[in-house]
Structure formats: C-alpha cells, structure tokens
Symmetry: C2
C-alpha cells in the first residue's frame, strides 16, 4: 500500500471502487455513512477524503456530502489513480492513454539520454540489454519483464529530466499490466530485443537521432500490438 494507517485502508477501498466506476460519477457519500461502513472515526474518514479530493476524484461540500467527480476532472497523472485504473475496468483505456504517452515521451527521453547519460547509466543500460537477450532466449518471462522495466526506467532517468524520470514507475506498471493482459505471450520477439540493444548502444555512443529512432520503433510497436489486442 502507499499511504499507511487506517486512512490508507479506506483509500485502498474507495479509490479502486471509484476508479472502476463501481461508485459512479455523481454519486454522493456521507461522511457518517463511511464511518459506519468501515468502522472508523471521523478523523480517518476526513483524511482519506481529503486525499481523494486532492486528486480531484471527489468534492466535499457542506450540506451536500462527498460527490464523486467526473473522470475528466481526475488528476490522471497521479500514480495512485493510474494504478487504480489499471487494476479495474478502465484498464484498456488506461493502457491506450499510457501507450500514447510513451510514444511521445520515451523517444525524446532516449535522445536526451544520448547527451546526458552518465557512465554508470551507460554501464547499466548495456548490462540490461545483455540480460534481456539472455532471459528472452531462456523464455524466463518474469525476470525478462523486470529487466525490461529497469531498462526503460534507466533510459528515462538518464535523460536528466526529472519529469521523465518520474514516469519510470508508470511505464513499469504499463509493462506489467501488458504482459498480464495477453497472458504471457510467446517468447519475446528477437526484433524488439535487438532494438533495445540498439538504444543502449546509441545512447552510450552519444547518438541522439539513432537512440530516438530505435526507441520510437519500440514504443510504436508496443502501441500497435496493444491496439491489435484490444481491437
């Protein structure tokens, strides 16, 4: 869990319920009702609601209650919101949105990384590229996924842009969700893996164009495959 304590438990119940549409837009909750339903005190309810309010998922008004806001108002970049949406019925839509975001951001990050990466970044990328090749050949999907996540996170971090860097976890969630989605696909395609090596090489060689191009091929490929799965 992310936020600890009783408010965290409340959030872990309410957040997914709202994100999945189980508690629909426009629904009104009363604080007292939540106190009873979860057997907690006002203090706890208020803190949880405040957090949901800071994500713009609900609005609390006097004499009215706690109203669920339309999805279009939610803070869609909040890591918790993303996680909740990926876990529920919104998963396909969320994967699509994130897919487009990746197409926009990751090539740019790769280009920046080619000029900003430290030696450590470069070493890490090269090592991960090798690991990807090995684990793919061994059809070890679990550790392959972990290395894939680490690879993309490292590129984002190496870009030197804090905002890109913070998308590392989100991209990780996407990759995890995607592999769960098509239920462990056949052996990862060797083409994609070659592209990862290409990205690593280009970044280490300080070639922004090549890094960007290779990364773009990776993420657009991923988005295309996603669209095929969801079609």
């Amino acid at each position: 869990m992310d936020i600890q304590g009783l408010p965290g438990r409340l959030l872990a119940d309410l957040g997914p319920a709202i994100a999945s549409g189980e508690i629909p837009e426009g629904a009104v909750l009363r604080g007292e009702e939540l106190e009873e339903r979860f057997g907690v005190s006002r203090t706890v309810v208020r803190e949880a609601v405040r957090i949901l309010e800071s994500m713009r998922m609900v609005e609390s008004r006097r004499r009215v209650g706690i109203t669920v806001q339309p999805k279009s108002d939610w803070d869609v970049f909040d890591p918790l919101v993303i996680r909740w949406r990926l876990a529920g019925a919104d998963r396909p839509a969320q994967l699509r949105s994130l897919g487009s975001l990746r197409v926009a951001v990751e090539p740019a990050a790769a280009a920046l990384a080619a000029t900003h990466a430290t030696d450590d970044d470069c070493r890490a990328l090269s090592a991960l590229a090798v690991e990807l090749t090995v684990t793919a050949r061994a059809a070890d999907l679990e550790t392959f996924l972990q290395h894939d996540i680490a690879f993309h996170a490292t590129v984002l971090k190496a870009s030197g842009n804090e905002m890109f860097a913070h998308l590392g976890d989100t991209v990780g969630a996407v990759l995890t969700g995607r592999t769960e989605y098509h239920l462990m696909p056949h052996q990862p395609e060797s083409y994609a893996i070659r592209l990862h090596r290409e990205v690593a090489e280009a970044i280490c060689a300080g070639d922004p164009e090549r890094a960007e191009r290779a990364m773009r091929t990776i993420v657009t490929g991923a988005l295309d495959e996603l669209d095929k799965q969801l079609a």
Copy 2:
C-alpha cells in the same frame, strides 16, 4: 486557491515554503509546532500534512515527526507541486523540465489531433489562430497570452488522449510563467504565429505529419529561447 478551508491555507503556506527550499530537505516539523504557528487545531494540521504526504513531499513517522523528503521523491506531475515550483526559486529548473515535456508531448498531440479533432475543435482552433494574429499585431500581450494558452490547450484536448488533455493547464502555467519571466517581450514574432496557423490548418485538414512538424517547430523554438534566457 485549490483546496479550501483551513487546511488549504496551511498548504498554501507550507507547500511553497518547501518547494522553494525555504524549508530544506531533511528538515523535521512537529505537528504541535505547526498547530501553534498557524493557530489551528490538530485536525487541520493532520489533513494538510496528509495531502503533502500524498504528494510525497513529506513523510510522517511516529516518534520522529514530519520530515521533508528529497525533491527527487516529489510527485512532480502534481499540479500544485508544479505551481509551487514555478512560483519559487525552482522556477528556471521547472521551466526547463516542462519545456522538454512540451517538446515531447505537444507534437504528438498535434498529430493525434489531426485524426481525432471534432468539428468544434477545428472551429475553435481556427478562430484562436486568427485571434492570435490580430492581438499580436495590436501588441495586446495580455489577451495574446490568453489565446495562446487556449490554443495549446485545445490542441491537447483535441488529441483525444485524456492524459495529454490534462497537460493543458500545465502548459498554460508555463506560458504565463515564461512571459512573466522575460518581462513582456517585444511584439510576438510573426514567424511563431504563422506556425500556429499552420498547426490549425493541418489539424483541420487531417494532416498529422504537417501538424506535428509545425508544432515541433513551435515548442523547440520556445525551448531554445528559454535556454537563451537562462544561459
């Protein structure tokens, strides 16, 4: 203000203070101390702190207190965090980060808009492009800025991607911050304005490549100019 009530007032004080480094990383606050300093009750302090915690700007631990987390942990996509950083000493760094993000996202959004824009979007874009031309010629910087913000927000929204759409306000903040930064530059360059019209035309004509190219020229130009200003 964003969050209302007393917790909102607390946030409006603490957030900027932390974002600007006035309260440095690693600093420890005690809840009781905050109660006295702001003359509010425990309830209020806790709710404000909870929100800061959900942004990962602070961490609250028993027997220790409320610790300011390192900047690298902050939820840099949270609109409040962005606003606070833009308002304080971090402004140059924040503008740079956001500039790179714009370069990544806005061209992609323009391309998507070319295939997803509704007729209303198209009308709005065309109208805004005209307005930009007019207000630029009149050197009416204030309304020019408003239309510029609306233009970019409309493109992002027309992309059909909810995450892109939500960057509209952020981009608006960047544009505002930028014009404040170089203190009302001379008359907006007619070249940039022609590019805005080009974007609008390309989107309405359903030409993704042209829309993307024109938008990329706009945002990379903006980033270059920003770098010159900060150099």
